[in-house]
């Protein structure tokens, strides 16, 4: 057994090479990852993700819209513009896919294109039939996704086809796209429940043969659709659920390059974000997500979560404009009328709000103790405290100092806010209150108990 001796250091070790605070905590790897495939050990280098051109593709207006009332055209144009600002000039948010079926769909694409934004590139989504393909041509898009379901659940029980009939139909539409100079992106639906060697790999190899002589920008892209959220990122999980094995075989046995592989997940088993991030690490480049994870049933990989993950993996903002995430959340709440759960990471009303007095005490002494990163600078969201009978005098002091904008030595001590805390406790102990104290009530208490500070520091 290895013995560890206490190192009683004079200064704290805040491990700032991993927790810089000015950025989300960084993700570092210390070695290779090993996976057993066909009885042999294969190796993945997770550090490769630092240099590979990983990026995010957006499906807010396609899968994200399938699970909610339709967005208005103006809303989609506004969100598209915000996606562009969020992803920044390097195209971290590289593409966004749109439906093409209704007049509103097509007018929206035109309005977005009129913004003349480089990123995200607008792509389409169609079912794999030639009639639908006409829509892509008419809209003049350079790339379209097409539904190419890959499990026997879909092929036999939904499409009433044999595997050969399905594959021939898919290939026919792919060929039509290539002939028209449109890059096809095959969405292999239900791939984590498919017969991989019996259908998926033969289909992908056929697609590869079809485009092997074409320039790189016309080679078929493969979207791995974990339609029911069955995918697993655990090392040595069995196929077809294993994400590492799936990516390894597509790259090494089918010859698909990482720039043409994309992960599209679902959250039915609470694995949506980690599966998508793991797919990046195990060797594909595109992570397909939606704003705030809205999507069919339990949703898709949350795009803003992928953005934070991207920064954590790359160790740099890479041109990402993070405060736009907060702007988008406010737009959903105020303009679209969609409520985001208060505890939803990075954007929920309470994501960095503490109610516990002991946490509030920590926040007052050193913000980093209970704040995940510098949310004030990076997200325009200073850590907050919600006042209840559990938040303590520390909580009230934090609220009052934040409200009055007092910093450093100007900050009021717990003694100065003791009367307000007594009023708070009386609310619960004498009045029998069951709800949190509102900001308006606290402001009134500041006026009453700290009138000189209110007059001097409060900005209307």
């Amino acid at each position: 057994m290895k013995t560890y001796e206490l190192q009683d250091v004079p200064q704290p070790n805040l491990i700032e090479n991993i927790f810089p605070y000015s950025l989300p905590p960084l993700i570092k790897f210390e070695g290779k990852i090993h996976e057993t495939i066909d009885g042999k050990t294969v190796e993945f280098d997770p550090n490769e993700v630092k240099t590979r051109d990983i990026h995010i593709t957006d499906t807010t207006f396609r899968d994200g819209q399938q699970a909610r009332p339709p967005y208005k055209k103006e809303q989609m144009v506004k969100l598209y513009e915000m996606l562009s600002r969020l992803g920044g000039p390097n195209g971290v948010i590289r593409q966004s896919e749109f439906f093409l079926y209704t007049k509103n769909d097509r007018e929206t694409i035109d309005a977005c294109r009129n913004l003349n934004l480089k990123f995200p590139e607008i792509t389409g989504w169609i079912r794999a039939n030639k009639g639908d393909f006409r829509l892509v041509k008419e809209m003049g898009l350079k790339e379209t996704g097409m539904l190419t379901s890959s499990s026997d659940y879909h092929i036999f029980h939904k499409q009433n086809q044999t595997r050969k009939q399905a594959m021939d139909q898919y290939v026919e539409v792919v060929e039509a796209a290539l002939e028209a100079g449109i890059r096809p992106r095959c969405h292999l639906e239900d791939i984590t429940r498919a017969d991989l060697p019996g259908f998926v790999f033969p289909f992908v190899q056929r697609l590869e043969r079809l485009t092997e002589k074409l320039p790189d920008n016309m080679k078929v892209k493969i979207r791995l659709c974990d339609t029911m959220g069955f995918g697993l990122s655990y090392p040595n999980a069995a196929e077809p659920r294993s994400i590492p094995k799936l990516i390894w075989r597509l790259r090494n046995e089918c010859g698909v390059t990482p720039d043409r592989l994309e992960w599209h997940g679902h959250n039915d088993f609470h694995k949506v974000h980690i599966n998508a991030a793991s797919a990046w690490i195990y060797g594909l480049n595109a992570l397909n997500g939606t704003l705030f994870g809205f999507g069919e049933r339990c949703g898709n990989p949350p795009l803003e979560g992928a953005i934070i993950e991207y920064i954590a993996l790359k160790g740099d903002l890479c041109g990402i404009n993070l405060p736009v995430i907060t702007e988008m959340a406010q737009y959903y709440e105020k303009e679209i009328g969609t409520h985001l759960a208060p505890n939803y990471p990075f954007v929920g009303k309470d994501f960095n709000t503490t109610r516990a007095g002991i946490h509030a005490g920590g926040l007052r002494k050193f913000e980093q103790i209970y704040n995940i990163f510098d949310t004030t600078t990076l997200l325009n969201r200073p850590p907050r405290v919600s006042i209840t009978d559990k938040s303590g005098t520390d909580g009230v002091a934090l609220w009052v100092n934040d409200f009055l904008g007092l910093k450093g030595e100007e900050r009021l001590s717990v003694m100065k806010v003791a009367k307000i805390q007594r009023w708070v406790m009386d609310q619960y102990e004498i009045e029998g209150r069951m709800s949190s104290i509102t900001d308006e009530e606290l402001e009134e208490q500041v006026k009453i108990n700290l009138p000189e500070y209110y007059k001097k520091h409060h900005r209307n």
């Binding site: 005098t393 001590s413 717990v414 003694m415 100065k416 003791a418 805390q421 007594r422 406790m425």
Partner: protein, 82 residues
């Protein structure tokens, strides 16, 4: 201000805030253990001392004081700059 004067004022404030008979308060009494001050009451007591002596105390130092005698010494040191 003499230590005796400070002691009288500390005991007067303590008795008022913690609702005790001043004659029964001893220098050895602990605010929490013997005089029953919970965490909020302890803060209110320090706030009352601030008002009594017209001082702005450093929170971390002031809240470390746990007994009546400790408080008398604490204010004696500050007021008389020992």
């Amino acid at each position: 201000m003499t230590r005796q004067e400070i002691a009288e004022r500390v005991i007067k404030v303590t008795a008022r805030e913690l609702r005790r008979n001043p004659a029964e308060i001893r220098e050895s009494d602990q605010f929490a253990m013997e005089l029953g001050a919970d965490s909020l009451k302890s803060i209110e007591l320090v706030a009352a001392f601030e008002e009594e002596f017209n001082l702005n105390l450093v929170e971390e130092e002031a809240l470390k004081v746990q007994s009546v005698g400790g408080a008398i010494d604490f204010f004696d040191k500050i007021i008389n700059k020992k």
